[in-house]
């Protein structure tokens, strides 16, 4: 049970996208061993999983390996994957929010639709983009990390260029936000 508590408190997802071991998983492995006298899921398999989880990418899928769980029909799973393949999915973080979101840039017509969607998603007002002054007057400023790793203000470049160069979005809040666009 302690493992569960630790998991619940550990919600600082912005900083901890990496998971090395899964809380409670060890406990589940033990239960599995006890309930299955002739163990079909040998310990070696489990340790192999844990051992190789050095990279960011491979940590999350380990938990998905329970056959038939969650109980979703395969044609549903397939339709989720297929739409992923064609979209341009980027993570969106907002300062102060407990978890990240993900959006598909492909479905938006342009900046105004994107901003409307972000406003709706996070329940805030970003307002109008101004070439000289950015999002002046708003408490929030949408920024994005581009291919070079630089943080840019959303709206500066043409939409198509933005779609291909945007790696992730971050909605800045407060004074940091107001600082942007004032003749930086």
């Amino acid at each position: 049970m302690e493992n569960k508590v630790a998991f619940e408190n550990d919600l600082n997802l912005k900083d901890t996208e990496l998971r090395l071991g899964l809380p409670g998983r060890e406990e589940e492995e033990q239960k599995a061993l006890v309930s299955c006298k002739n163990n079909k899921r040998p310990l070696s398999e489990a340790s192999e999983d844990c051992g190789t989880k050095g990279s960011k990418e491979s940590a999350p899928p380990a938990k998905a390996k329970i056959v038939g769980w969650p109980p979703i029909r395969s044609y549903r799973k397939n339709s989720l994957q297929e739409s992923d393949a064609s979209g341009i999915y980027v993570k969106v973080s907002m300062d102060g929010a407990p978890y990240l979101r993900k959006i598909d840039l492909k479905v938006y017509n342009g900046y105004s639709e994107l901003l409307k969607a972000l406003e709706n998603m996070f329940k805030l007002t970003i307002g109008q983009y101004n070439e000289r002054e950015g999002y002046k007057g708003s408490e929030f400023a949408p920024t994005y990390e581009d291919k070079d790793g630089d943080w840019m203000l959303v709206g500066d470049v043409p939409w198509d260029m933005f779609m291909t160069s945007c790696k992730r979005l971050r909605i800045m809040k407060g004074s940091e936000a107001r600082g942007l666009g004032c003749g930086v």
Binding site: L22, P60, P71, I72, D104, V107
Partner: protein
């Protein structure tokens, strides 16, 4: 002494029986006396066989010589989640063959989770002169060639529904096999087909069939084509779109909207693959007509989603992805007072962290705002006893409640307690509950509640729950109307199973996988209960008789039958056969 039983001639009794349609009533009639049994069996027109192995085709044909309609179900429900190996069984062929010779006037065949071949489809198309309805739900084993035979030969076909079947898609040309003179189609569901169908053939078909009421297209039908198709089927009541996405073109948008409006009977929409937010508002003009909306393939977030749903004031059924979030469900609760069924599917089922703001709160809102809500399927990542108790108190009229908390064994997120009390409240307050699926952290306690209160429960699904055999015992001994029980990854074992062996003959089936049942118990059960098939699905360790009796079986499927051991068991299914 007057022989009252012979006061009515058979013809009169038969006439009276012709008004009785429900299977249960018909079964009851047949038990009154021998002559009623005889009269009834000659005039029964329709039967439902919930487990195709419970009885043999020969027995059915012998008892009911004049059937017009048959429904059969094959594989266990957990086959939907890949827990049943390939080639397990559920073959329709012996049934089709038996019926082809016995029922030349058969009109309707409905199969669920069965394996059907092209040869069988061809046999159907040639054997039944007045064949009208073919519904293949979650079936497999056939290709579009088989469908071509149906199209070419079934002159009076009214319904062709392939819902969620796996079809080997050789080409879309099978649709062209419907002859030009074909006019009888009322319902067509090809939503499961992968490849393109000829839109020409579709258009021709629709033009020829003025009575078409239900049309569910597959993903490959582009949005632009949808407009043309809608124009040709103005009497549609149900529509399943294809891919609901395209280049953003205002004229396509307005044409689409106009086409929706033009179908004045349109009440139900589904499809919406890859739904582009731009095109969702095309539905707004007809939203108040809609009673059923399936947006569970609309895998994109959009504020238009919530707006659309809130405009459908007369909605009775909503299937949607968790992109709707708690706020969307709150809006639903305010707008859709006639909602009867809600299903919320996960957009990121394997992600470890929540990707959307959908929690127990959404379901609680709907339970508060929608007085007619009876049927729920809800995937979420957190739940509390308090929420479940509230839901139970709000909706005592609930009949189907399926909750899937994505992480196995997750406790009440507020108190960190098991969810026993919450689910207990559900079974206690919802006195007409017929179907229940459990999830989250649960002890034997919840099963005690289910056994005590779940008197109308017919189907129960359990995963990663319970502490001991007691759980299974409570359910088997307490749930008087239990027909189907499916269990996975629970510490349920021999004692409870053997103590309740007699109960198993009153149920359709029991599935247990990754539990604590030993091979010895299976053998004993098979010995003592000849009217049960106790089938062990063998894993890589080898057949059960090669192992000590204390060894645990991985997968077990028990069902009652009057047909004895089935003849088509694959090598990996073992059944006790003798001392």
């Amino acid at each position: 002494m007057p022989r009252i039983a012979y006061a009515f001639p058979d013809e009169v009794l038969e006439h009276v029986f012709s008004f009785i349609h429900s299977d249960q009533d018909r079964n009851a009639i047949s038990l009154v006396c021998k002559s009623w049994y005889e009269i009834e069996r000659w005039c029964r027109r329709s039967i439902f066989v919930g487990n195709c192995y419970a009885v043999s085709p020969v027995m059915v044909v012998k008892r009911f010589p004049k059937l017009r309609s048959i429904s059969l179900k094959g594989k266990p429900h957990f086959a939907d989640f890949n827990l049943v190996p390939e080639d397990w069984g559920g073959y329709a062929c012996p049934w089709i063959e038996a019926m082809a010779s016995a029922y030349p006037w058969l009109e309707e065949i409905r199969l669920k989770r069965m394996v059907l071949t092209d040869e069988s489809l061809e046999l159907i198309s040639k054997s039944f002169k007045n064949f009208q309805v073919l519904v293949l739900s979650s079936c497999e084993g056939f290709s579009t060639d088989g469908l071509a035979a149906i199209a070419a030969n079934c002159r009076n076909l009214r319904e062709l529904d392939l819902r969620e079947s796996e079809v080997e898609d050789l080409s879309g040309h099978w649709l062209s096999q419907f002859p030009d003179s074909f006019t009888s189609l009322v319902s067509l569901n090809i939503s499961c087909l992968g490849s393109e169908v000829s839109t020409c053939a579709l258009e021709r078909l629709l033009a020829g069939c003025p009575n078409l009421q239900s049309l569910r297209l597959n993903r490959a039908v582009p949005l632009e084509k949808l407009v043309n198709l809608l124009g040709r089927s103005p009497n549609l009541v149900e529509l399943g779109t294809g891919a609901y996405t395209s280049e953003m073109q205002p004229d396509v948008f307005s044409d689409l909207s106009r086409a929706f409006v033009g179908c004045k009977q349109l009440k139900s929409l589904s499809g919406f693959w890859d739904a582009m937010p731009y095109y969702l508002p095309a539905v707004y003009p007809i939203s108040s007509r809609l009673t059923s909306l399936n947006l569970s393939y609309a895998t994109t977030e959009s504020p238009y989603l919530v707006k659309l749903v809130s405009e459908c004031r007369n909605l009775q059924r909503l299937w949607v992805m968790d992109y709707i979030e708690d706020s969307g469900l709150e809006a639903l609760a305010v707008s859709c007072k006639d909602l009867r069924e809600l299903r919320v599917f996960p957009s990121d089922p394997f992600g470890l962290e929540p990707n959307v703001a959908l929690t127990e709160r959404g379901l609680v809102s709907v339970s508060e705002g929608c007085p007619e809500l009876q049927s729920v399927l809800y995937f979420c990542r957190q739940m509390s006893n308090a929420a479940l108790v509230t839901i139970a108190r709000n909706r005592p009229n609930m009949t189907r409640f399926r909750l899937c908390i994505i992480e196995p064994r997750k406790p009440d997120y507020l108190t960190l307690q098991p969810l026993d009390a919450g689910f207990g409240a559900i079974v206690e307050h919802c006195k007409n509950l017929r179907r229940l699926s459990l999830s989250g952290l649960l002890t034997d306690r919840v099963f005690e509640y289910i056994g005590s209160y779940g008197k109308k429960l017919e189907m129960l699904s359990v995963a990663f729950a319970g502490d001991s055999d007691l759980g299974l015992h409570y359910v088997l001994s307490g749930c008087d109307n239990l027909r189907k029980l499916e269990v996975r990854d629970c510490p349920f074992g021999d004692k409870a199973l053997l103590a309740n062996a007699a109960k198993l003959e009153t149920m359709r089936s029991l599935w247990m996988s990754s539990c604590n049942v030993s091979f010895g118990a299976c053998k004993l059960l098979g010995q003592k209960m000849p009217r049960l098939n106790v089938e062990v699905i063998i894993d890589e360790r080898g057949p059960p008789d090669s192992m000590p009796e204390s060894c645990l079986v991985e997968k077990l499927y028990i069902y009652r039958t009057v047909a004895g051991p089935r003849m088509d068991m694959p090598g990996f299914v073992w059944r006790y056969t003798g001392p």
